[in-house]
Symmetry: D2
């Protein structure tokens, strides 16, 4: 262990709008030290309930892009990365059940396991890990200042509660490109489909063919959907959606989503719809950014009495928005339409821990093929900046960083 | 029966913005004849599955006011009234279980009992009763043209499916002021509280102290709420809320609802909130009409992970709105705030049939005291215009029309 | 129509223990006439809400066998058959939405659509169709006396409420061997898996590899199960289960089901279990009939806190039982074990209408392959007696009678 | 701290069939030492996540009686008591959120907060606290050997996860006789009523008027039941049930429970029923002990499609039973009847943590009056043996031990 402390720790660091770099941030300790974005109340927080992981895989996420594009107040120097899978190499003195050598998935939303929200499975709004507001994540602006995991080593607090242990090490490494999606996008997509009420036989529309949209589409299949239609304006991503059995529509090529759906289903409505785009939406046809465009269109095409799953991010502040209202997270929504159709809107982060164990079992049995669905693509830690850049350009890939070359 | 057909049938008729009158509309038949607001496809629709009711009570509703204020496209000549309780005096040939002499409550949302929505308890969006869109009601603009029931006699279709029969006639007449609320506001208020997730011990905020708000408040009590706080700007209505054990806040007297709540609960948030106001909301303090004001404020005060019950009406078109967006039912909503708090928004009409039987049982046992909660006030049919006028001025009363003088 | 009345109507008739015969029973009317097993209160019940179907397919069921084996008080002359798919050729005067020419599936549990149970989707315990007790079925002892549908023509009451219309006739005939399972075994198996709590990732044990067990196994797959294990003592049926991806155990070859499961899963418990056998169970190893054997064994292997789906039939009277208690439907159950494990036991018939529409959509999209799973095997009406006999001998087939030679 | 260790610790100790005594057991440590009934694997288990409580109140429970009556294999020397409320006077080094001075309720089922069951709110079947089987409790046979809390001081492990902190100390002491019921019988009774499906308007039958039955009855009221009927054969306990608004039936005075119910409700069935008796049931009329008597009778009177809440204890072994089957926890149940009525049976301990916070809020607001409902009666620790004896004789009281004379 002492030897470990001498080890360096390369990590992906946000260097200001449009730039990330790989730098040495020092080997982690079982304590949250001061640093970029760490709230005062979290500085020097002891984490004897935590563990140090040797990171096996850590993925680049659309919400990382959101910071890197400069649309948030993320401070320079922030270490990025909230999608972490790793091997336990050190455990705090209070850790009772997690053992060194365990291969584990880390839920991206940090949760204490002691507050009323955690006790009722609402780990996405844990009250004890972020002094500024409920809810937290690694390497993310305004999320408690926990150090990100696009790195070689990372500290994870509340390990006994949070970590999902894979039952067999060898099997885990074989399926690692699927299992790495358990930290965020698989539970996020599943939450979207599940809260939209997808069930056996449902017809489903998924707005957005990025990794979360593709994960939602595959989740809808697992939930028994009869037909899954994915909409986007990126043809490569739509092709990716078709590769695992989805129907697709290019929303840029038509003004009326309902008509596009009718061409596929014979009727202009679906049983359930999922918004995997969020506030950075573009309008149908060629309207440029239109933050409520997806919300309004899914109300239009979802059957009366239906639910709308909304895992796509909507922000409380959007300093980069063109629209004055949107800057404060206020959107023009056709709420009257939703009300007339008696829709239910389910918003917010996924409580990843609610779903990750079941999804792991679906992966290990071969039932779920999430890596294939999202086109998991391995890159080295040094290539992370290029991964960010390619993803930003719309590559139909989910980049998985392999910091130690484990997957070669 | 033949004699009945010679009987007149006085009813409340909409005569243009601001005016209602009591007129003879003719004794009903088991057929929907042409008339103001009847869609072509519904003209001459046969209703052998229907019954004729002698109306015992029929209530004036806030949504009636909405039409009378001229904020809709309701046609002159529309017969008003969707809150109907009566005695069956004639049954169509296809009626098998409902009998003459039955005292019944009529759910305000008309439902066929044969479509996929009705089969799954979503009677508020029945597909077969309104050719223009799912969902229907008696005496209401754009709701299928079914003749209203603020009258002496009324026809109710699909009687075997729709009607709630009271088990004992004498008992029913004793409790009639409670039972008359089963046609709309009690199930509507209950739906709001129920879908907001109110359960044993919950702290609850109800926006609006009109009849629906008071019904939601009493429903929250029935659901076991520990504290129910009602907000409004009408002091009489707030006093009414206090009369059955609610706490109250006058939202006009303070800019910050959270602080008002904190003075009562010791914390600025509640477990559950219900919007019983809808699009005709006023802002906090003195901001005039502000259609998203209530929605935004309940997001503010509802705990993370909570649900918002939204039985208050939001419309797809509001020709009378000041705001250009609001005219098309588009509202500026702080959706980013709701998303960050992982709120669920449950909108739309109540499926009255889902709740009315259980609420009837609660009334008949004395468990529920809804008439007292909403201050049920009996008036004659001839006094209905005055009732509309008083209610519009903010009377803290729920007016119950007694067309045959049954309740004297 | 008049011509139809001259048509004969061949049907499968119970002729006493061990015997069925094909006889002409006369063309059906829109009325329930007196006959074997018709309760007095149902004699001459008018069914203007009904339709006459030309039967396209009608399946032989394990519960038919149960009568034919002579273990019930079924009267001689009873017309058998409750699994019916057909074409509407005549409609009663009260039928509004079902049309001649519609191809439809008939839910085996007859339901009125007007009682409190039907209104809350509990069509399996409809209060209005069987004067003797809640719940009803075609061609079944003590189930209201409704004439069975293993025939050329059959009358179905409450058609607007009950019938599931296939959207396209040609498509329906192509998938008819799948769609015919919607009348009973697919919703029955699905109910078992669903109420056992099967969800994405679940490990599942299905007791019984007859048609209902196989349908439950396929349903578990649709619900996202990671591994489905089917247990039986008939090797042909187990082979059938393996043919669509299930694991299997022969319960006769081992005393401890848990050990058999451990060999497959690495642990002796499953997340969910379904009893598709019921009271005619045999014990593990070679214990002969043991009516609680399956119940006790699924308690043994289901994880703590889990649910047990129990679609397998348990009877209130079993005159043919060896055990005096079992004769009155009283079983020796290790209830203390279930209690200590905090199990939930979900019993009873499926409410077929709750599931059949969604399952139809899963079939029509190709998502569900139920005919293949249960090895649907077409026979003529004249061959029905042989079908009964083969099925009784344990053939790993689901026999589908084709009374008009439609499927050739 | 050091001073404390010199303090003695008087406790109620099981001394063999029929006898308990108050003895000094020594001041607790943050470790589970060897002792009567401690499984080898739990000996010397470190509990740095635990706290030491000064016990404010600790109640005598029916399940304690069960051991004292000698119907279990409880070892002599076992320290009794699983219903504990106290003040935190010492915290382990790993405790982060619980503070010295907190007044807390201890859920009777011990739970780690780290296993898959605890993470999904199934704390009643925690996998990590009892090496012998899932589920655990203080002072109870075969439940992990944790030292009971009918004592002056007690150690509680996993404090951050388990303890329910009362928000205000002074208020807590005022309501302490209500709050003390949160450790077991209030959540237990509530679980029974909740899982029986009690909702607004329900008619409910509660079998058993002991403390759990009375708690279930009051819970049914909180859940909105229209009528609550309590059955027992002890007239004092029935009088207690009537004291807070329940109807009652003496099941010894009649052979047919349905007829007794019909006299109250006008129909022989209820919407929901709860078994608060368990395996020590007596038959109706004068049949002596009949372990399935209550189960069979609630099937008889519960409506079709209903649920049966079964918090009453059924054991896997009952060495004291007369019946050979009952000795192994096997009961003769009319399962066929339940199946025909499509009943759901919900068994097992309550997950107390799922309910205790909401019930606390209902108590603190004055909404719930549980102490009055169960007739809470304070006794000193020295009087505990007399309390056991009185309770065993059927006193209509819930005995609350006050070890430090706090409540004088
Ligand atoms: Zn992510
Ligand atoms: Zn937390
Ligand atoms: Zn109304
Ligand atoms: Zn309908
Ligand atoms: Zn069948
Ligand atoms: Zn029915
Ligand atoms: Zn207890
Ligand atoms: Zn645990």
């Amino acid at each position: 262990m002492g030897g470990m402390a001498l080890t360096g720790n390369k990590a992906v660091v946000y260097k200001g709008k449009g730039t990330v770099a790989v730098e040495d941030i020092g080997y982690p300790e079982l304590i949250l030290r001061d640093g970029p974005g760490v709230p005062k109340a979290n500085v020097n927080r002891k984490c004897e309930h935590g563990v140090i992981l040797k990171v096996i895989t850590t993925n680049i996420c659309g919400s990382d892009q959101h910071m890197v594009r400069g649309r948030t107040t993320a401070p320079e120097g922030l270490v990025l990365g909230h999608e972490i899978t790793g091997e336990v190499i050190e455990t705090g003195r209070d850790v009772e059940f997690i053992k060194k050598g365990d291969i584990v998935s880390v839920p991206f939303n940090i949760a204490c396991g002691r507050c009323v929200m955690c006790k009722t499975q609402k780990t996405h709004v844990c009250l004890n890990v972020n002094p500024d507001r409920p809810g937290s994540a690694y390497g993310y602006v305004d999320m408690g200042g926990w150090v990100g995991g696009q790195s070689e080593y990372v500290m994870v607090p509340y390990a006994d509660f949070q970590l999902l242990v894979f039952p067999d090490k060898e099997q885990a490494l074989e399926k690692i490109l699927d299992l790495t999606m358990l930290s965020d996008i698989f539970p996020t997509g599943f939450h979207g489909a599940y809260t939209a009420g997808v069930q056996t036989g449902s017809t489903v529309y998924i707005a957005g063919a990025g990794p979360v949209g593709l994960a939602a589409a595959h989740s809808a299949q697992l939930l028994g959907a009869s037909t899954v239609i994915v909409g986007d304006l990126n043809e490569d991503r739509l092709a990716q959606a078709r590769s695992f059995g989805c129907e697709t529509v290019n929303v840029q090529k038509h003004d009326r989503l309902g008509e596009q759906i009718e061409q596929i289903l014979g009727e202009p409505t679906v049983d359930a719809a999922v918004d995997c785009v969020g506030f950075e939406a573009s309008g149908h046809g060629n309207q440029g950014e239109a933050p409520a465009a997806v919300l309004n269109s899914i109300m239009d095409v979802t059957q009366v009495g239906g639910s709308l799953g909304i895992p796509g991010l909507y922000v409380t502040e959007d300093p980069g928005a063109k629209d004055a209202d949107a800057k404060t997270g206020s959107l023009k929504i056709r709420f009257g339409l939703g009300w007339a159709k008696a829709h239910t809107f389910v918003t917010g982060q996924t409580p990843a821990m609610t779903y990750n164990r079941n999804l792991m079992k679906a992966i290990l049995s071969g039932r779920a093929q999430i890596a294939k669905a999202v086109n998991a693509t391995v890159i080295s830690l040094d290539d992370a900046p290029k991964g960010y850049s390619d993803f930003d350009k719309g590559a139909a890939k989910k980049f998985v960083i392999d910091p130690h070359g484990t997957l070669k």
